[in-house]
């Protein structure tokens, strides 16, 4: 049995098709990533899986339970860390965790032990009796992660778990999550648009306009770009482009004022290329492809270019959802 099975899920908000027939499985113990710009349908899919939204059509199950017909069992199986805070600021960390434990029916002896264990892990134990309103953003997020794990969920949903946090805190949270995953054989479904975080995933689904456009391991996704990415700045970009296309049979693109293209083996390609390239080169660099390049190649756009517009779309969607 897979941790998550999704089959042809569609979600419409009025005219807007937020999720357009998504299908995939997440295996037990796997970290599965959703990669895509805001408004691509990542959060909507997660909301359907955690029973907050009903799908317009399609089937989905979590931990073997149907998300429409067996909601209660689904709810018991999952832990959630949302991108927006869902803590009660007026209560202390301890009280927030107790509320959660009561709501999920965690037995008393397990509860106190588990609370201390998680608070220590998240380095919040010395502040457990402080009101959450006195916490920093990073502390709140860590508390949310602790809370999401309190009732021993089988599947953990992380919706942008580290959005807006500083790199050090992000690093921390990831250390915890990977440790816990090993300890408890958790399956994790996460969304992010930090590319370095996506590297933690065993597999990644690239999602755009409510559809999955690619699904593979991070390494193979990057390999699909075609080797190494070479970026160069030429004295005459136009001329360089033409020469790259005609003499080297490459397909260069212009991005941020740089001409870039990919080659299977840059160590073999570059010496020969530098000898025979006739346009003047001001600078040249080589790097391994990132998931940004993957997204660019699959959709023709960079993930981040879209953000402003996508934010608006997202807000409208949330509005529609609430209505």
């Amino acid at each position: 049995m897979n941790a998550i099975e999704i089959n042809g899920i569609v979600k419409k908000f009025g005219q807007l098709v937020a999720v357009d027939g998504i299908s995939f499985n997440v295996e037990k113990g796997e970290i599965f990533g959703f990669l895509g710009p805001n408004g691509a349908g990542k959060t909507t899919t997660i909301n359907i899986l955690c029973t907050l939204l009903l799908p317009t059509s399609g089937k989905a199950s979590v931990n073997g339970f149907d998300v429409v017909r067996e909601r209660r069992q689904v709810q018991r199986s999952i832990g959630l860390v949302f991108q927006d805070p869902t803590l009660d600021d007026y209560l202390t960390a301890e009280q927030n965790l107790r509320f959660h434990a009561y709501a999920y029916g965690v037995p008393r002896d397990v509860r106190e032990k588990r609370m201390t264990e998680l608070l220590e892990l998240m380095e919040l134990n010395d502040r457990r009796r402080s009101r959450v309103s006195t916490y920093s953003g990073g502390m709140k997020r860590r508390l949310e992660v602790a809370r999401g794990l309190l009732h021993h969920p089988q599947v953990l949903f992380l919706d942008e778990p580290t959005l807006g946090l500083d790199p050090q805190t992000r690093r921390h949270i990831w250390d915890y999550i990977t440790t816990l995953r090993k300890q408890e054989n958790l399956s994790i479904l996460m969304t992010t648009h930090y590319m370095d975080e996506a590297e933690y995933c065993d597999r990644i689904a690239v999602i755009d306009h409510g559809k999955i456009v690619a699904l593979d391991t991070p390494t193979r996704l990057k390999d699909s770009v075609g080797g190494d990415v070479v970026s160069l700045q030429a004295d005459n970009q136009e001329q360089a482009l033409i020469e790259l296309k005609e003499s080297f049979k490459l397909s260069p693109v212009v991005q941020n004022g740089m001409v870039s293209f990919s080659v299977p083996r840059s160590d073999v390609f570059l010496p020969e290329f530098l000898r025979s390239f006739r346009s003047g080169i001001r600078s040249i660099s080589v790097r391994r492809p990132t998931l940004d390049d993957v997204f660019l190649k699959l959709t023709g756009r960079a993930i981040r270019e879209q953000e402003a517009g996508a934010w608006e779309q997202m807000r409208r969607m949330m509005g529609a959802m609430n209505r």
């Binding site: 955690c50 907050l52 067996e70 949302f82 007026y90």
Partner: protein, 289 residues
């Protein structure tokens, strides 16, 4: 992880114990918040006391006795107690809107709790808090020269609870459809404030213009206020020469189709309406995604 039982609503039939757990955990959190929030406690009591002091002192000399032995202060004080409970109960609705805005509602909605038990928990928490506030208001009774007896307090508890449950259900019903605090505040202003003022808190609703009398008598709050007031007035000492045990003078009590309502009548009206509102609140709250 129990049975594979399913039903169409998406909720497995829950064990009674689990329903209780849901009610308890939601009420527990509201009580925790209330006891941790002294500002809210003070502000909840400040308004009725200010009302009482200003209106009571201001009108007491002008209006004189409304019935033998009943001056304006004695008339308005029970009304203010009822109003304290009304306002406090409506807060349960506001707290749902608040939770929605600040995200905590999601934590509640993804938890394995039935929506019905969430609503019930909110109402239980709200009823306990409202009752506590109503009882605290009794402390000022000696100051305004209102007599209290143990029996009165004992009878007051169930009546205040019933009022609170009904009004909490109304608050949750409104909140289930509200997305912002501003929206909820607007409803409070245009609907609930007039309802409060036209419920006989400040003046008897019998010898008033017809339009006002009609609104007052279809207003459920009127009956809650009347029940509380009758309980109080029944134990106030009468001046010498007036025989005890006469029915409430119609100048003060609420008369519907020629029948002067008693405490029991009033309470039944409020309870009946409360059950209706409760069902509507559960249905509406469960329907939202």
């Amino acid at each position: 992880m129990g049975t594979d039982e399913k039903n169409d609503g998406g909720d497995e039939p829950m064990k009674i114990a689990e329903q209780w757990r849901g009610i308890w955990v939601i009420a527990y959190r509201d009580l925790l918040r209330f006891t941790g929030d002294r500002i809210r406690l003070v502000s909840a009591l400040a308004m009725p006391i200010i009302f009482l002091v200003i209106f009571g002192a201001g009108f007491n000399n002008v209006i004189g006795q409304l019935a033998p032995g009943i001056d304006f202060m004695k008339f308005v004080y029970p009304g203010i107690i009822a109003m304290t409970v009304l306002n406090s109960s409506l807060m349960s609705g506001l707290s749902i809107v608040w939770d929605r805005e600040f995200g905590f509602l999601r934590e509640v909605l993804v938890a394995p709790l039935s929506r019905g038990s969430v609503v019930a928990g909110k109402i239980v928490g709200s009823a306990v808090i409202s009752l506590a506030q109503g009882i605290i208001m009794l402390v000022i009774a000696p100051i305004v020269d209102v007599r209290l007896t143990a029996m009165l307090v004992l009878k007051l508890v169930p009546v205040l609870l019933i009022i609170s449950i009904s009004i909490s259900a109304l608050g949750i019903l409104i909140a289930s459809r509200m997305r912002s605090q501003q929206g909820f505040q607007l409803v409070m202003m245009v609907l609930l404030m007039p309802m409060t003022f036209l419920s006989g808190v400040m003046f008897p609703v019998n010898n008033v213009p017809v339009w006002m009398e009609v609104i007052s008598k279809v207003n459920p709050l009127t009956y809650g206020v009347d029940a509380v007031r009758q309980l109080f007035l029944a134990v106030q000492p009468l001046p010498a020469g007036i025989p005890a045990g006469i029915p409430m003078p119609s100048a003060i009590g609420v008369t519907v189709f020629g029948r002067t309502m008693g405490v029991l009548d009033d309470t039944l009206v409020v309870a009946g309406l409360g059950i209706l509102l409760l069902i509507m609140a559960v249905v509406t709250f469960s329907r939202q995604e």
